[in-house]
Symmetry: C2
Subunit: 194 residues, 2 copies
Amino acid sequence: MLFHFKDQFPQLKPFLDKYLEFLKRLEVPTKTVLLEEGKVSQNYIYIEKGCVRAFFNNNGEAKTVQFFFENEGLTSFESFINNSPSLLTIETIEPSVVYLLPKKYVTELVKELVNEPEFTQLILQVSAGRQMHYMNEFFSFIRDTPEQRYQNLLNNRPHIIQRVPQHYIASYLGVTTVHLSRIKRKIAKGKSHF
Amino acid sequence: MLFHFKDQFPQLKPFLDKYLEFLKRLEVPTKTVLLEEGKVSQNYIYIEKGCVRAFFNNNGEAKTVQFFFENEGLTSFESFINNSPSLLTIETIEPSVVYLLPKKYVTELVKELVNEPEFTQLILQVSAGRQMHYMNEFFSFIRDTPEQRYQNLLNNRPHIIQRVPQHYIASYLGVTTVHLSRIKRKIAKGKSHF
DNA sequence: TAAACTTGATAACATATGTTATCGCCCTAA
DNA sequence: TTAGGGCGATAACATATGTTATCAAGTTTA
């Protein structure tokens, strides 16, 4: 969220650069929890290498809602703003290298930036983008069958299918692993006709 | 979105009040379209009386995603910020009285406010709230069965069930009207045991 | 007032998806 | 090297939900 926008909003660069030194580099194995559902987010997270998933717990069953990869940053936005417990757990899927910026510094940074009109622009833009993302995911769930959602992944984000274990993908699509297998078989059959 | 926050952010009040005179009052019948999917939002909308639904079109079938009632304001946020076509149509469900603030004035107002630190606070808060809303709707779709979603409506927002025609509710729940009837019968049966 | 719509319930049948169990493959730890 | 565990495919059966058609009651319109 934060450090991606240096190029787009050059006036903010000096503010952001000041905080680079407070980033903590972390090398972590698979299945490391970076933020736990129900706890207040304590860090802004940036992924240098590897990938993570965001999920929430429903009666012991994990529902995966999003994947993040290299060069992406993430926060539990609402958790940061309102000090409210995170709705999601963030967990690595592969051995990963991440940078953390502790909440304390994020808060400081925001305090400094709140007087910069450019920052308001950035906030508006980031917020609109996030809202767009959740709306699109939401609408896709309503509009598309699981098979169509799988096709969307194949067409638009094949790296996810390549890197992420199938049971997480099934969870993301909203079906069981059994049904995802059926979907894959059906698609494979369809293809073999040509 | 905008005029609700006068009390919470008193410093912004004079800015907001200046624009009250540009609000256009409109009395409209049922099924009036206030914003059409695919078009750029031209107004901030405030509902004085009546109610509206937000839906998108999927192969000729309308998928309802949200209802708004008295004293609520709405914008297609992304559409406003990015001048992008709205993902949703906004249509009245009842004869309604609404106020419109043309985009021109909203833009002006935002330009004035962008230098007010309090405005950034407001933006952060509104954005977090909106994101929370869409996340919750999204997660409820993933987590809950249509029957549970109907129970949630009954428990938390019974006014919706009372005022809104059943086919819109079925669409909102993600099922056919036939299935919603089944759900209602099942719940009625369950109750009659006590 | 009568005709035409709209809304909601219901039945019969079709399809999509979940549940449980089994099998095979690959990887890793002892 | 072998035993166990994680992962994915598949089959058989169960359940949830969609589709189509019909009916009844209420509402709008000519």
